[in-house]
């Protein structure tokens, strides 16, 4: 399947992400915890840029889960909001930042653009003629 959280965040470019709201800024720490060991990623979001460092510093939002749960988020297999509902993630701090992860991580593989359905409908008509 897709990337692990480590791979995804490592290759996250330093460029402008125009899909992030330009008025939103904040810090998030992802704590991937397994067998008593915790790995930290520290995300600083400002002015449509995301900076990733490895730090255990305090952040406005701290998100804790197992590495497997983070991997599923990073590959688009799972949605951050439903993972929260399933209690796979625990969060502490400013929850309003959580939905930024939906934009930072990719969507599910194989999703269709609505126009594909429109084109299929038009093609279906041509086919019937």
């Amino acid at each position: 399947m897709g990337a692990t959280i480590a791979e995804h965040l490592r290759q996250l470019g330093a460029g402008r992400r125009t899909d992030l709201p330009d008025t939103t800024a904040g810090t998030m720490r992802l704590d991937a915890r397994e067998d008593g060991h915790t790995e930290h990623w520290y995300l600083t979001v400002a002015d449509q840029h995301v900076r990733v460092t490895r730090s255990g510093d305090d952040a406005e939002l701290v998100i804790r889960a197992t590495p497997a749960v983070f991997d599923r988020l990073a590959s688009g297999e799972s949605h951050v909001a439903t993972a929260l509902l399933r209690n796979e993630l625990t969060v502490q701090g400013n929850l309003r930042l959580l939905m930024l992860l939906r934009r930072i991580f990719p969507g599910p593989a194989g999703a269709r653009h609505p126009r594909e359905l429109g084109r299929a409908a038009m093609a279906g008509r041509e086919g019937r003629r």
Partner: protein, 693 residues
Amino acid sequence: MSREWVNVIAGNAFAISDGEGDVTDAADAPVGLFSFDTRFLSRWVLSVDGEELNVLSRDDMAYFETRFFLVPGAASHYVDADVSVIRHRSINDSFNERITLLNHSAKPADFTVRMDMGNDFADLADLTDTAARGQLRRRDVEVAADSARHQLVLRYARERFVRETTVNSTAPADVDERGMTFRIRIEPEGQWETDLHVTMTIRGEGGRDLRNDLESHRDHIHGGMREELTAWLDRAPQLMAERDGLEETYRGSLTDLAALRYTPLSYPARVPVGGLPWAMAFCGRDSIMTCLQTMAFTPELTPATLRMLALLQGGQLDDLHDEEPGKILAQLRYGESAAFGERPDGLYYGAADTTPLFVVLLDEYERWSGDADLVRELRHPARMALNWIDEYGDLTGDGYLRYQRRNERHGVINQGWKNSADAITDESGRQPPFPRATCELQGYAYDAKRRGARLAREFWGDPGYADRLEREAAELKDRFNRDFWLPERDYYALALGPYGEPVDALSSNIGHLLWSGIVPHDRAEAVAEHLVGPRLFSGWGVRTFAAGQRPYNPVGSHLGAVWPSDNALIAAGLRHYRFDAQAGRIAAGIFDMAQTLGGAVPELIAGYERSLTKYPVQLPAAGRPQSWSSGSLLMLLGALLGLRPVGDNLLVNPALPVGFGRVELLNIPGRWGLADAYAGDRSATAAGRRRLR
């Protein structure tokens, strides 16, 4: 025989019981105690000495608080009962019921008081979905009965998803797995009481002190919530009206709106939920409409709603959730099926109208409030929403906003406000293929572009973008009036199919077009006459679908029934085009309906001819209270008074139907500070302009 249901509400937490206060065998009915889309009690039955109780009277003290006065035994012999029972229940984040037994005899008396308790942890979404009813998931519920602590804990766990109901009694109790028993003695003329406090835990966070919780519940109910309701009513404009009952109806609507607010997990301010019982969740459409309706009355709902919707705006292409970047939410739910992806409504985006309406709401709010900072703060989501209309909403490339679900299992079939599966049909009952372009969606898109242009020019410093949006809006209006207009019928088609073929039914959707302003003046009169003509107008309001067409069904939600929310928008649209008499007829009909029924305005009533039934026929599927139904009365009042912000002033341009007499609305909030509106119908004017108070 229909039973009476009694509810207490606090945002998305609510309890529905029968008239005695009991919940028996809830099963697939939406009764019991709920919070965050989960049932926390499905059985809650009180008895004394093994006898059922009968209600003498009830005092609905506030939307969050009710008292039942009861006596044991059958109706025939309770008149001389020497024991009576009071159930006093209240709800906020938790639920409390104080049970008081009064011994009216001159002798001490022994009683066995029993409360049966149980729960199935049903997901409200499963109860809503008629297809899923009758085959509800059976859940293994762990029960821990602890007589020493007077506590019963019911717990359901699936992986890390945990829901827990904890019932604590302040009085000693014998607790078993099916409830609590109290064996008590009451002195002559004495009383006994216990508080049964129910906490609803939605995540696995333990260690809360339940005693503190009960105290904070009481403080909140007795201080905070009552004061807060009074303050909410005080902040709204004061209505004084000659017409009997209008003030009460107004106050009732404001109170319903207060009840239907909740604080989401992810946002610290309150937003409207849809309504009882099916939509006690954050619904994009209902919330936006409620905000639009209540702008002149309770504008504080709007900034929180806009920010919450912006926060949850679609970010990715996702077929399961029918999500696209920039799309505005259809529904947010917290239940089990949402969590585990068995239903996509954890965050579901299957709505084609919410995204343009988000932009409409932002612009409308600025016009009323002058809050330019909010417009600048929400520039990015508003631009994403405007981009969505063309990039993702135009499925066939013909310039119309369309929809077709990609989640073919659970997605919503029709994604406008008429969202039942059979709602979009021609006059003979033929349903068009997908993707579908319903007419009102084009009106919303037109309005969104025009309003987006104003925001871009005045606040975002982007005149080039403003010009583009205005050009696109003008082109859309031309195209729409060419393709949707049915010249031989003198009205607009309900929809276009994917190849541009019109769906020729006459429907209430054409009234929304007036509200959006996409109708040229030379066609507006024909539209207005259809709306109040005999096929669409029932006497109470405009039917969703005109009588005389084959699919017409007076009890069909979107094929003939009358919706107050639909009618409010239509009346406002008629007044935009100066069809004051037509707007007045509709508003008068809806107010008559609301006042005849009393209580909260239902979401819809049957489309039967008023002269035939004399009384509004209610439908079992109609919930109440509903935020956009309660809000619609406020919008109708605003439309009759002709309230409109013009620059920094409030314009008042009243047109009251006969029978309203004098109406005064004082302290209307807005960028002008507070302003008053005075109006009178023609008879009142003739009688002189006397003041009401």
